[in-house]
Symmetry: C4
Subunit: 373 residues, 4 copies
């Protein structure tokens, strides 16, 4: 493994890069933006654009999941979020949005102490399915065994298992951990699982049968994880590592292609585009979609780690409202701040570099910038 540095006599380390350290540099050929394809697919499900709405209560509600489906993408409902704990979470959402950041964490802890209601899981998923769009729901690894049969009976098209760190080999003293391989094998639906942080973690998830692997922890928790537990994932390096795992697994599996999905640290369209250039097939977006007029977070945003009962990581942040979901995804933009027209930005970057589809754009040459200027 190249590009190692010596921290001290007793420790070596790789140098790792974030998306902000990377810049795309156009080369010889250019193309028309309208000639570019941005489609991708997971299993049999094909989508027009390489975007997934993150399973976060500030981003994906049953209503926004439906809206995203109609816009050519898919929103994943957090099945351990407010929508499965409360019959009507709207007053809670409004309260969260109205609080000072300093007080919000304690209120999140209290609001999410309400038990999950299996019947609400069923109800929410049915609501999405009735709208005729792709149905996707997420559980944490800890609760997958408890609720997955409820989820499957309610019916989902895509099943997401998402935690800050998910491994194919969890060890526990007092309970039998989820056997991910057996679990995925037994299910009928494609499973997207993560976050994975590097080649090895991702390769094991691929061998366990994942249809897609999430890379990263989700955006808002990144800096908070570093501050609280010293753990973080420089995304450019992580995506590139996991893309290599995809190549190697494709070889060892005789051709199974696992989707690599960047999850987090993509607050603006520029870093979203860069994540694909690093090798991602699609991106799970949180903050960018939380800025939609339709977003349940009312201009605020928080991750699932932010509500942890004893060790919250990440704050409820103010992301503001910048336009409709339609404008955020497809434009037009009337500000030049990278918060709207994500797909227009992607098309222009791909066209400027002469690529016709995301698969080839993953090979796009980039540079590391010494300083961010």
């Amino acid at each position: 493994m190249a590009q190692e540095t010596e921290i001290g006599l007793g420790k070596k380390a790789r140098i790792a890069y974030g998306l902000d350290d990377i810049s795309i540099v156009p080369s010889r050929r250019t193309r028309d933006p309208q000639d570019v394809s941005t489609s991708w697919q997971v299993d049999a499900y094909e989508f027009d654009i390489p975007v997934i709405g993150a399973p976060m209560d500030s981003v994906t509600s049953p209503q926004t999941a439906i809206a995203m489906g109609k816009l050519g993408t898919v929103g994943v409902l957090d099945l351990e979020g407010l929508w499965t704990r409360y019959e009507n979470p709207e007053p809670i959402l409004e309260k969260i949005a109205s609080l000072d950041p300093d007080d919000a964490t304690a209120y999140l802890q209290q609001a999410y102490a309400e038990p999950i209601k299996p019947e609400l899981i069923v109800e929410r998923l049915h609501e999405i399915r009735d709208a005729g769009v792709t149905v996707a729901g997420a559980l944490s690894p800890q609760r997958t065994q408890q609720y997955y049969s409820t989820v499957l009976n309610a019916g989902v098209d895509l099943f997401v298992i998402r935690g800050t760190s998910v491994s194919a080999e969890h060890v526990s003293k007092d309970h039998e951990p989820l056997n991910l391989k057996q679990f995925i094998y037994d299910l009928d639906v494609p499973v997207i699982v993560g976050g994975a942080a590097n080649y090895r973690a991702a390769l094991h998830l691929m061998r366990a049968g994942a249809a897609g692997v999430l890379v990263g922890f989700g955006g808002v928790a990144t800096s908070a994880n570093r501050q609280t537990i010293g753990v973080s994932i420089p995304m450019a390096t992580a995506i590139s590592d996991v893309a290599e795992a995809r190549r190697d697994y494709m070889d060892e599996s005789g051709g199974r292609y696992v989707q690599v999905i960047a999850d987090g640290s993509m607050g603006e369209s520029g870093s979203f585009v860069t994540a694909l250039a690093m090798g991602a097939d699609a991106a799970m977006l949180g903050a960018p979609l939380a800025r939609a007029q339709e977003a349940p977070g009312h201009g605020t945003h928080w991750g699932s780690e932010a509500r942890h009962a004893t060790l919250p990581r990440g704050l409820r942040s103010e992301v503001g409202t910048v336009g409709t979901l339609q404008e955020i995804l497809y434009g037009p933009s009337h500000k030049a701040d990278g918060t709207t027209n994500f797909i227009g930005a992607l098309r222009r970057a791909m066209a400027s570099c002469g690529y016709v589809d995301i698969k080839s754009f993953q090979r796009c040459p980039v540079v590391v910038t010494a300083n961010r200027s």
Copy 2:
């Protein structure tokens, strides 16, 4: 290609530098500033100073083009700008300057929605020619085919084709793209074309017959491009790459010397000087000239990307007014902020390092600074 780093297992990248990362360090010999020559030439046109006024409505109007010509340089008129859309753009320019940055983008989009009038192209170019200075006009690659015969009939000395990313090999599904090589061959006037970002892109533009190659995207769009589409060009690396293409092309063409013109990221005289030390023959300046009392932007500045209808990049920024065009170019300075006396600064840097002309100054030794201190 040296100085590569590994971003992750699946991706390698060069480390690239901006002008701010570079510092000129004087060596053994020194000279008198007045003994230094700053002249350069494109084809038969020779200029006293290595500066071109950028084709931006905040910088070059017919009047400032004339003023620049009389000061020993040349201003390029944007032939798709306000001067060819409106008989009298002054009220529009004043409105743009008066708006809040947050509201300016939407107004730019609206103002530039007015169609281009071919008769105004003719009128503006005639006005410049009548003043007896070099006439230069710019079109985007997209509109070159539509308007170039109007431009040629009106008469230009230098023809500039300028886009955020211009290639000698554009691919399109629904229209026949500009055959740059044939086009340049058929024209009677020297063509300056860009922005190119690296060796390969520049070499193809040189082979297509360009008399000069623009390096970069223009200044104001740089950070915005990165934020919105992930694309940016660290200028020190880009200029040095393109200078190498110039050397190789001179060899393969049996001696044709193509001018390398840095375009953007040179807000202060220090980075202007550094761009020449990287290998540029001249610099196309935007923001520095937008700070002139005569500048049409009235102390504000914007690039052509900032007015894009659906994906604007770059804001209308406030650059302020610091002196006359004469003072900005030739001094004297009464502030030490690098906004006036660009040529005095260049002369002093060249003299401190002992060089007599720009061609030899391109070999000036420099260092990369670990941190900007």
Copy 3:
């Protein structure tokens, strides 16, 4: 010694890293946080958690030493601090906390000009022993010879010798310096000594018989030392170097294991966790514990260098109050800023990376981040 760079023709240097430059990246296996052991021991003294309360008047008073003992750790009393100079230091502590930062240094110099009273050393140590917890006291190298017999007669379990730079080989013209090896040999109690900054300094302290070696200067003085005397210790590199000295000394001594204790630059739980991942067995915490409701500093914090009579280094800083000692160490957290639940954070990081104890966690893979994003 690898990873050297050339500063100039006459000087080479290693590249050194701080804890903030490092990020822990989870790999394949994960675990349950409750399955993790955080215990460590010095000589016969075993502690539940790898934390030592720093010998600083803003952190450790007799009362907080007792409280720390009851919470499974140990607080070291500064035996040259206010508690051994004043019968009742509380008014002094309140005054220090109430002053403007600009005036505080001069007042610290004045308050610490009061002579040390040996009888107060005895009294304070007895007070701690009477509470039934581990008794630990610290002297500076300069005053160890003068007061150590007082200390030993009063009775301590752990003896700490702590200065900004402590060597096993001090040279003096006008007095016989402390023979550290003989001194430690003659004592009955385990001695922790530091701060050491690198392999060589640490190895000599280990050979002198230290039971534990402090790495670093203590937190608050770090940036001030750099500003005033140009000296600082990038902690990630220093801990890793000293951990290597521990390995080599264990080999040469036939199996003596010396504890490596990170001292300073760990203001948040993330850097505390990272210090252990670098190879530390435990951490001496200052600022984090000064934020306790019980802390004698009343929300302010200062190091022993800050009171130096002629060359103070480091200011009395405002650290605020964030919760009880219990909450800082064990949570629960209601803010996500890394100031509470240090042990919860450590457990989660260890569990995310699949390690069962601190000794194995020291091998945890990490990355160096190019930019802190």
Copy 4:
């Protein structure tokens, strides 16, 4: 020459470091601060401390030159400054100090337009000599020929030739440049000359007979030079390069030792100490001494470049007043900000690393810090 990086295909560069990038790390041995010698000498003149007062009107007046002499060091009078242009410059100094930074440059240009009076050169130097201290005066290379005989007749012990870039080989079309070698050979007094920026420039000045070489441009001009003309000297690299030139020249000259004097970029005692650890024998201080109660700048500070008639570089900055000259040099400090007790700081650093004199301290091991933390 090691540690090169490739900026682009056409340009290579060394990586260069500033003093802020460097950190001193103590090694095995320690010493008592009072056992340390800080003396150095130029030719027959020996000084207690490695400090020279810079020839800047905000720092060295006849009065402060005398005060510095009595404090064991030497202040160099700028013989082209206000003291040789005005019989009584005090009202000018007060006016400069009272102006807004934005207006100060234009006033400096006007005040320094007054001609230099040779009789005032004589008068000022006599005033210093009459006080019984070492007499030192500085001229720029441009005016050395015009005034040096006046200076010599008035009597100086040390002659300083100081410009932003001084070479032993100046080339001019319309006048015969100073033949530095002949000039120094003909003089009776030791000559200190600079600023030199690297090995080659310094070696030529040494071969020209300089008793001391100034490294750098003087502090205040550094960032301004970079901003205006793209030139700057990362000081850690420059000092180390020039120290190597000293070693090589000592060899080729059969033992002539030329003093290496860091000039500028040492605003706090930490960077002053670091400059010596890089290989400097002494430091010419500007801003630190301009903070003295006695300083003629009344709490403001400017370099000679800041008054340039057409290309001023560097502003008149506000540095404040922190204590007497005595306190700045010898303490005691009552603030921990590195602005007082420069010699105390140096003694402590040397003692912490176990060195007895400056010559051996130049070999002090240091590290490059990846990020300034």
